[in-house]
Amino acid sequence: MGPLAPNGIISENTNFLLAFFIGIAFGWVLESSGFSSSRKLAGIFYGYDTVVLKVFFTGAITCMIGLLFMSLFGWIDLDLVYVNPTYLTSAIVGGVVMGAGFIMGGFCPGTSFTGAAIGKIDGMVFILGLFIGIYAFAFTYPLWEKMYMAKYLGEPKISQSLGMKDGLFGLLLILVALGMFAVAEWAERKFPREEY
């Protein structure tokens, strides 16, 4: 049955329309969770607000469990679901550059849009920066092309790479997340703050 668009069950235009509604839900959840506030987001790096960790990991795990069960029930063909390719070098270097941008700018791209949507001028300026950064990459791409394409590993799943079944990895990830949530609750009590 699923995924609907790759299986031709819904048309391309329907898929785009649904993308708009999925985006509304995405933006609503991010804003309602406080992701429109850079000071709340940055709290994860100083221990005074750990909402990023809790929402992010709970979200990834919820999706992972949902996909595993839907696949088990035969509701979705996971072979048709896009798995991000792994280019080892650029995944690491890109992550490092983004991490530097995160601690300086206080947003990531998705959250800066929800900030801008409710009138945060710092969010709008961050978005301006995103455009500058992407234009800069576009015009200097030949300089990075070699690094961008280096160490291509295909589309491996982390469970495969670690030599375990998806379900077992999922269980371990849940246990790790629960441990991190316990530390997060402790940190928030230790480093109290006001709500932004």
């Binding site: 708009f20 929402v55 999706c63 992550g95 941008g101 206080g106 791209p109 961050f126 995103l130 982390i158």
Partner: protein, 178 residues
């Protein structure tokens, strides 16, 4: 009075675990419907590609970036799933902020720094994030969150790169936040 307004305001945000489950369900819906996860920087990439094409019709042949883009995206760049999704994000964020009474034009910053300093860092941070999202083939949404949801090895690596670096540098930028 400060205390009362503090609890009132904190109550307005969703419980983070509930927010996480809802986010996961949205991500699951995206995978079930479109066969792909959520994203953000990809929508800006589409706008950038469109603008370059508008100025230089021949860019696909002269700019390697545009050739690479055309290879991975068929049709007009603006007919992109992520462009429609990100338009939705603006609407959804606005609705949530309107209901909670958070619509306000302002620069949010720590009382210890000026608005100007906050904006300068927002611009630098955005530029780095935009550039990094291209190298990493997606940002926190498209590479890290959606990648982790489908157990992509690259997604986990990029997630660790983003958060690991931000933690490593947190000390040097602490004045901006605490």
């Amino acid at each position: 009075m400060g205390n009362i307004s503090k609890t009132e305001r904190s109550k307005k945000y969703l419980n983070p675990y509930l927010g996480g489950v809802l986010l996961g369900l949205v991500l699951l819906a995206a995978n079930f419907i479109a066969g792909r996860g959520l994203g953000a920087s990809g929508a800006i990439k589409s706008v950038v590609a469109t603008s370059i094409e508008a100025v230089n019709k021949n860019a696909v042949n002269t700019m390697p970036f545009m050739a690479e883009y055309a290879q991975s995206h068929s049709g007009s760049p603006m007919r992109s799933w992520l462009v429609f999704e990100m338009l939705g994000v603006l609407v959804g964020g606005f609705i949530s902020g309107a209901i909670a009474g958070r619509l306000k034009l302002k620069v949010e910053h720590s009382p210890k720094i000026t608005s100007r300093r906050r904006l300068v860092f927002a611009l630098i941070g955005g530029t780095l994030f935009g550039f990094g999202s291209q190298l990493g083939r997606g940002c926190t949404s498209g590479a890290a969150l959606s990648g982790m949801g489908v157990l992509s090895l690259g997604g986990f690596i990029t997630m660790m790169g983003i958060f690991g670096t931000a933690y490593a540098l947190a000390y040097f930028f602490r004045k901006n936040w605490i």
